[in-house]
C-alpha cells in the first residue's frame, strides 16, 4: 500500500474523497457537457506520474451530449479492464485553452503498491532520481 495519507494514487481531481458513485460521476459528466467539453475514457496499468499517454478507450466523444452515453462507455471499459486505472478526461476546444479541463479517476486496482524512488549518487552531493512503479516490472496487462 502507498504510504501517503490516502493510501493510494492521488492523481486526478477527486482522489482525496471517498470513491465516487456512478451517480456522482454522472453529475460531473453533466457539468462538463454543460460547459461544452468532450469526454474521453482512458486506461492504463502504468500510472507513473509522468506517463502522459494512457490508452484511449475509443475516441473522445465529441458529438455526445448525453451523460448516459459516457457512462455506458465507462461501464464497457471497466468490464474490459477491471483491474486497470481508468480516468475520465474532458477536452475544452475553445481558443486560448485547447487542452484538458477535467480529469479524475473512476477505476483503480484493489492493490496499489505505488512507486520506488531510486537515487543515483552523482557529482558532489547531487542525486539523480528515478521513479519506478513496483508493478511496472511485469508485462503490460499483468501488472495488477
Amino acid at each position: 500500500m502507498m504510504t501517503n495519507p490516502t493510501g493510494r494514487l492521488t492523481q486526478g481531481q477527486f482522489s482525496f474523497l471517498p470513491e465516487l458513485s456512478d451517480e456522482e460521476i454522472r453529475l460531473q459528466v453533466e457539468y462538463g457537457l454543460r460547459k461544452g467539453y468532450a469526454w474521453s475514457v482512458e486506461y492504463t496499468d502504468d500510472p507513473h506520474p509522468r506517463n502522459t499517454f494512457w490508452e484511449m478507450y475509443g475516441m473522445p466523444m465529441f458529438d455526445l451530449r448525453d451523460a448516459a452515453g459516457v457512462m455506458l462507455e465507462l461501464q464497457d471499459c471497466r468490464q474490459a479492464f477491471p483491474r486497470h486505472y481508468i480516468r475520465l478526461l474532458a477536452f475544452d476546444a475553445s481558443r486560448g485553452v485547447e487542452s484538458i479541463a477535467m480529469s479524475f479517476l473512476v477505476n483503480r486496482p484493489e492493490h496499489e503498491p505505488g512507486f520506488f524512488l531510486q537515487r543515483q549518487e552523482s557529482h558532489g552531493r547531487t542525486l539523480r532520481y528515478t521513479t519506478a512503479g513496483y508493478a511496472a516490472g511485469k508485462p503490460e496487462g499483468e501488472r495488477y
Partner: protein
C-alpha cells in the same frame, strides 16, 4: 477660467508655431499636450492617471503636464523640437474628470503614439510612463490607475514562458485550483529541516511548496543546501503519491550571474519551477523568462515590494498595471491577492487583477477597476496565486471568487495544523476537492460552503481539526485600494 477659455488659450498658442516656439516658459497645455478633441487610435498606448494637483493648479494644466513630462516636454521651450516630427512624440492628454466622491483628485486620460516605445521592453515602457512624472512638483500625487497596451505592442512581447494551460499539462492537474504552501518559519530553518517541511506538505497532498521572498542564501541556509534537500523532498513525495510535485526554488540573488547560477542548479536537479522576487527588476525578469523558455521551466513571481507603490490609491502604480506588465514581461505565476486573507485587497479589485492575468480579452469593468478593453492577442495566461492568511474554512469563498485557474497557498494554514503538516495538507486538499465537486454538481457553494465542508469533515479528521482551529479567523479591515468610478462612465 472656463473650460472653453482654457481650450481657446491652449489652441491659440499650440496651433501657431511662432508663438509655440518663442523662447521662454509656456503652460503645458499651450505646448500641445492638451488635445481634448483627440480620439485615440488602435495603436496608441493609453494611460489613465489619477492626479492630485497642487493648490491652485488647474486640473487640465496638470493633466497636460503629466502628458508632457511622460513624453517629450522639458520645463522650457526648446527650438530643437522643430528638428523632429514632434507631434508624434508628444503625448496627448485628451480627457480630464473629477474622481467621483474624492475632492481634489482627477482622472486624466493620456494617449501615446507607438513610436515612443521600444519593442519588447518593459524597462523602456516604464521609464517612459512612470519615469519622471511622479516626482513632478505641480502634482501633490499621481497614480497610474490603468493602461491599454495596443495589440501591435503586445505582440512584441513573448509573454509567459509556460502559461497556465501548458503548466497544467506538464503537471497533469486539471479542473481544480492548485494547492501550495509557503515554508514556515520564513527564516532560520537549516536546509535539512527545510526539506522536511517540503516533503511533509507535498506528501500530504499539496501540489507545490514555496520558498518565501526573503529566502535567498543567508548564514543559516546556503542556497545549494536548500535546493538539494528540497528536491529530495519533492522526489520522495512524488513517488509516495504518484503525482508530479514541485517547489518554487527562489533563485533571486545579488547579481544576474548569481541568478543564472542558481537557476542552472535548479534545472540540473530536475525542478519544474523556479521563483523570482519582483525586486530583481524588469530586465532580470525578462532575461529569466528567456532562460525559462529554453529550459522548460515555470517561473513563479513573488510580488515582493509592490505594496510600497500599489497600495495607496492617490499615488503610485496600480497592481492591475503591474499585472499587465508582468504578463508581457513573462512570468507564469503571479501573486495577485486573496481578498479574504491577511493582505490588502478589496474582492472586486482583486478579481480585476485576476482578469489581467487570465483573460484572452479583458473587458472594461469599472467596479473591478478595469478602465479599458485590453486585447491580449493570444498572449499565454498567467496563473494567479492567492497567498497570505487563508485557511481551509474559506475554501468555498476562494473557489467562488477565483474559479479553477489559481494557486491557493496555505502556509500557516498547512504548517500550523495541530496534527502536523501532512494533516494540514490533507485538510486543504479534502476541502478543495469537496467544494469543486459540489460546485460541479450544481450546488451554490457561496451559501452552502460551510455545510459542504462540515460534511466532508465527518470522514476527514484533519479537516475537522482545521475547521475547529481557525473557525473564527478572518481579516475584515477596510481596503485602502478600491475602485472609484462613476456609475455611468463616458467612453474612453
Amino acid at each position: 477660467m472656463s473650460a472653453d477659455d482654457i481650450h481657446a488659450e491652449a489652441t491659440e498658442i499650440s496651433g501657431n508655431p511662432s508663438k509655440r516656439y518663442a523662447a521662454g516658459v509656456l503652460k503645458y497645455r499651450q505646448m500641445g499636450y492638451w488635445q481634448p478633441d483627440y480620439r485615440p487610435v488602435d495603436t496608441d498606448v493609453i494611460c489613465l492617471f489619477r492626479i492630485t494637483p497642487q493648490q491652485g493648479v488647474d486640473p487640465v494644466e496638470a493633466a497636460a503636464a503629466v502628458a508632457g513630462e511622460s513624453s517629450t516636454a522639458t520645463w522650457t521651450v526648446v527650438w530643437t523640437d522643430r528638428l523632429t516630427a514632434c507631434d508624434s512624440y508628444r503625448a496627448r492628454a485628451y480627457r480630464v474628470e473629477p474622481v467621483p466622491g474624492t475632492p481634489g483628485q482627477y482622472f486624466a486620460w493620456v494617449a501615446y503614439d507607438l513610436i515612443l516605445f521600444e519593442e519588447g521592453s518593459i524597462a523602456n515602457m516604464t521609464a517612459s510612463l512612470i519615469g519622471n512624472v511622479f516626482s513632478f512638483k505641480p502634482l501633490k500625487a499621481a497614480r497610474l490607475e490603468d493602461i491599454r497596451i495596443p495589440v501591435a505592442y503586445v505582440k512584441t512581447f513573448k509573454g509567459p514562458p509556460t502559461g497556465l494551460v501548458v503548466e497544467r499539462e506538464r503537471l497533469d492537474k486539471f479542473g481544480r485550483p492548485l494547492l501550495g504552501a509557503t515554508t514556515k518559519p520564513k527564516l532560520g530553518l537549516s536546509g535539512r529541516n527545510y526539506g522536511r517541511v517540503i516533503y511533509e506538505g507535498l506528501k500530504g497532498g499539496l501540489d507545490f511548496m514555496k520558498d518565501d521572498e526573503n529566502i535567498n542564501s543567508q548564514p543559516f541556509m546556503h542556497w545549494r543546501d536548500r535546493f538539494l534537500y528540497v528536491m529530495d523532498g519533492v522526489n520522495k513525495a512524488s513517488a509516495a503519491t504518484g503525482e508530479v510535485k514541485g517547489s518554487y526554488l527562489n533563485v533571486t540573488g545579488a547579481t544576474m550571474e548569481d541568478i543564472y547560477e542558481r537557476a542552472e542548479f535548479a534545472k540540473e536537479l530536475g525542478s519544474v519551477v523556479i521563483m523570482l522576487d519582483l525586486v530583481v527588476g524588469w530586465p532580470a525578469i525578462q532575461s529569466m523568462a528567456n532562460w525559462a523558455r529554453r529550459h522548460d521551466m515555470v517561473v513563479h513571481m513573488h510580488r515582493a515590494g509592490h505594496g510600497t507603490y500599489t497600495r495607496q490609491k492617490n499615488h503610485g502604480v496600480s497592481f492591475r498595471v503591474m499585472a499587465k506588465w508582468l504578463r508581457l514581461a513573462g512570468v507564469d505565476h503571479l501573486h495577485a491577492g486573496t481578498a479574504v486573507g491577511k493582505l490588502e485587497g478589496d474582492p472586486l479589485t482583486v478579481q480585476g487583477y485576476y482578469h489581467c492575468c487570465r483573460d484572452g480579452y479583458t473587458r472594461q469593468d469599472l467596479p473591478r477597476g478595469l478602465f479599458f478593453d485590453q486585447d491580449w492577442a493570444d498572449t499565454r495566461k498567467v496563473m494567479p496565486v492567492a497567498s497570505g492568511g487563508i485557511h481551509a474554512g474559506q475554501m468555498h469563498q476562494l473557489v467562488d471568487l477565483f474559479g479553477d485557474d489559481v494557486i491557493l497557498q496555505f502556509g500557516g494554514g498547512t504548517i500550523g495544523h495541530p496534527a502536523g503538516i501532512q494533516a494540514g495538507a490533507v485538510a486543504n486538499r479534502v476541502a478543495l476537492e469537496s467544494i469543486v465537486k459540489a460546485r460541479n454538481e450544481g450546488r451554490d457553494i457561496r451559501s452552502e460552503g460551510p455545510a459542504i465542508l462540515h460534511k466532508a469533515a465527518q470522514f476527514c479528521t484533519p479537516l475537522k481539526q482545521a475547521l475547529d482551529t481557525w473557525k473564527d479567523v478572518s481579516f475584515n479591515y477596510a481596503s485602502t485600494d478600491t475602485s472609484d468610478y462613476a456609475a455611468t462612465p463616458g467612453v474612453a
